[in-house]
Amino acid sequence: MPTPTPSKINALFRATFLAIASLSLGLPPAAHAEDLVPLKLDLPRPMFVGTPVPVKLPNLEAPRAGRRSDFMVPKGVVNLALNKKVTSSDMEPVLGDLTLITDGEKAGDEGNYVELGKGKQWVQIDLTKAYKLYAIVVWHFHSQARAYKAVAVQVSNDPDFATGVETLFNSDDQNVLGFGAGKDPTYIETYEGRIIDAKGDSARYVRLYSSGNTTSEMNHYIEVEVYGLP
């Protein structure tokens, strides 16, 4: 009986790992080049390892060799989201609580992530006032190779996201979220998190969407960091 074996799982694990490791974003934010410095992230330890096998799909992240390229941000940016208030479409998470999203802990172990209910869900961070934002980094879940569906990131000064909404990232190619078919690639989660270019937009609220993942119908967040000038 061909019950899927861990060795097979490992093979595909490896197969997906390069795609996972494909978060090479080197997009310059809106600032003068001479003021830019690489964004320094405090990364958690990797939760899974394997020999990468190239996976290239037209709208899955292309494989990356070596370390992730520097993401340039203005000197002096800080994580504005640290310990800020988080609200959600699911205010009673299945596991954990919403404070985990901005508590600064990015380890992928049990107890460090919040699990929201099935299907389309969002979380929203209130930065308390509008800032110029340069990068948003999100860790959904990284103890297993999986891709989250319909990931979208928006910023706005309207807490209801009814007006003045800027969409910074949208991989929702089936338009599940209703923002139009997204053109950004689906990506596989890793300990490195996903860096999203915030383009120097000024906003107080950051909202992140997803609609399940390749393993379950649930939505998870370990941490979200929002980098801007204080």
Partner: protein, 475 residues
């Protein structure tokens, strides 16, 4: 609950039978035929003529009915187990999370446990009455057991071991009644041989199946080495007793607690009633044997849990009997309600709320719910093709349980690698081959990623019907 890979494999075998091909035992890659023979008449009666006509609930009806049958077999163990103890055992067998969970999986395990109970129950009846009819019934159950799954040999060996231990412990100096016993045993063995030969030979259509069944032991021995399912000896106890992300293991904890009380009680009464001692030893031997073998999957645990549930029933009975005072009945009712509530809460969470969640200890390599999105996407793409249904090419070896989810597609083919010339407008590739497939397909194809199982991904490639630029023929 999405259809598990093993269920999908079983469904493919049943699909072949529905299309007119007789079952043919394969000692390398298949279990015995009884599950298929038990299911075939039911799904035929429901109107199925191919795998495309099958629905998951029709298949899962079988283990559900077999699980209910398991409860009925408890009556065979009277009076060695009093009715109140058997009713308590039925709590675990009918409501315990492992029994309910795998009672919803169309795999061989529930049938295996049912046949084990029938074998033990009929044998016990024979031991009490020396009526040859019970011996023949036990033999038929043993034959069907052997023809269900290769692990039945471990069940029989454990039963024999438990018998060898029980007799001197419980009945020292006892001599079996000779008249009719040997003949009854011989008739039972003959019935077992006949039943298993009939089943393995597909009722005479494949005589080679009998020899294959013997050869299967060689392959089963290799498989016992692990084949990717290696776990430490403590794995079964961990599955049973460790709290998980999704629930506390109330079934395991209550079985352990009441089972210890029951085992002590059975030991105290061993001279009067040896069957509970036999049953307890049998459960422990099964657990020990399965724990010693590197190959482990959580459903194998049922083989030890089911007999142990009988011991837990005795323990539960003992605890209730020990209650004193005016509130005795009320306390007993509260105990029943408490255990029932705990079992039901665990079962609800593991079997109905999180049945395919990686944090569910009973969900072993479960199919990801994401596969339903893949199924819907493929069906949508196929329906867009109108009367000219597109060809769906599935590429790779680790693509289960896709054959189940694509069973309604009119033109679907499976290749180990992308063929040079499939006129496919929809291609599904295992992740390991996705880059090669993407390169071979060229520009103009969209791709989406889907999960088949935890950490097992597949890529869906598609383009508008009629735009395929690659080749002409499938396999």
């Amino acid at each position: 609950m999405p259809v598990h890979t093993d269920e999908a494999v079983n469904a493919s075998i049943l699909g072949e039978m529905l299309e007119g091909r007789s079952y043919r035992y394969d000692p390398v890659d298949r279990h015995g035929p009884t599950l298929y023979y038990a299911t075939y008449p039911v799904v035929r009666a429901l109107g199925a003529h191919s795998i495309g006509d099958l629905e998951a609930w029709e298949l899962r009806l079988i283990p559900a009915v077999l699980g209910a049958g398991l409860l009925c077999t408890l009556a065979l163990f009277q009076p060695a187990f009093p009715p109140s103890a058997l009713l308590a055992s039925a709590l675990w067998l009918g409501l315990g999370a492992p029994f309910v969970y795998y009672g919803r999986y169309w795999i061989h395990e529930t049938l295996l446990v049912l046949l084990t109970f029938l074998l033990l129950g009929f044998s016990w009846r024979f031991a009490r009455t020396f009526r040859k009819g019970w011996a023949i019934a036990a033999g038929l159950a043993a034959g069907a057991l052997l023809a269900t799954k290769e692990t039945s040999v471990l069940t029989l060996a454990s039963a024999l071991g438990a018998l060898v231990l029980t007799l001197p412990l419980c009945l020292p100096g006892a001599r079996p009644r000779r008249t009719g016993v040997a003949l009854g045993i011989a008739m039972g063995i003959a019935a077992a041989a006949l039943a298993s030969a009939l089943l393995f030979s597909s009722f005479g259509q494949n005589p080679g199946g009998i020899a294959d069944a013997l050869a299967a032991m060689v392959h089963a021995t290799k498989r016992a080495g692990g084949q990717g399912h290696e776990k430490p000896p403590s794995a079964y106890l961990a599955w049973l007793l460790d709290p998980s992300l999704r629930s506390r293991p109330y079934c395991g904890w209550t079985l352990a607690a009441f089972g210890l009380v029951g085992a002590w009680s059975a030991w105290q009464r061993r001279r009067d009633e040896p069957l509970p001692v036999f049953m307890g030893l049998f459960a422990l031997l099964v657990l020990a044997v399965y724990s010693a073998i590197p190959y482990k999957t959580p459903w194998l645990l049922l083989n030890a849990l089911a007999p142990w549930a009988l011991i837990a029933g005795i323990g539960f009975n003992k605890v209730c009997a020990a209650l004193k005072g005016d509130l005795r009945v009320a306390l007993a009712c509260a105990l029943v309600a408490g255990v029932t509530g705990l079992l039901a809460s665990e079962t609800w969470r593991l079997c109905f709320v999180f049945p395919a969640d990686p944090g569910n200890p009973l969900a072993y390599s479960p199919t990801s719910p994401d596969i339903r999105r893949l199924e819907a996407r493929v069906e949508g793409l196929v329906s867009e093709g109108g009367s000219r249904a597109p060809i769906v090419a599935v590429v790779g070896s680790d693509i289960w349980p896709l054959p189940w989810y694509l069973r309604h597609c009119p033109n679907v083919g499976y290749w180990p690698e992308l063929p040079r010339s499939p006129e496919a407008t929809v291609v599904i590739s295992e992740a390991a081959q996705s880059e090669r497939v993407s390169r071979a397909l060229g520009p103009g194809w969209r791709s989406e990623i889907f999960g088949l199982r935890p950490e097992v991904l597949a890529a869906l490639f598609h383009r508008a019907p009629g735009e395929s630029g690659i080749g002409r023929k499938g396999p």
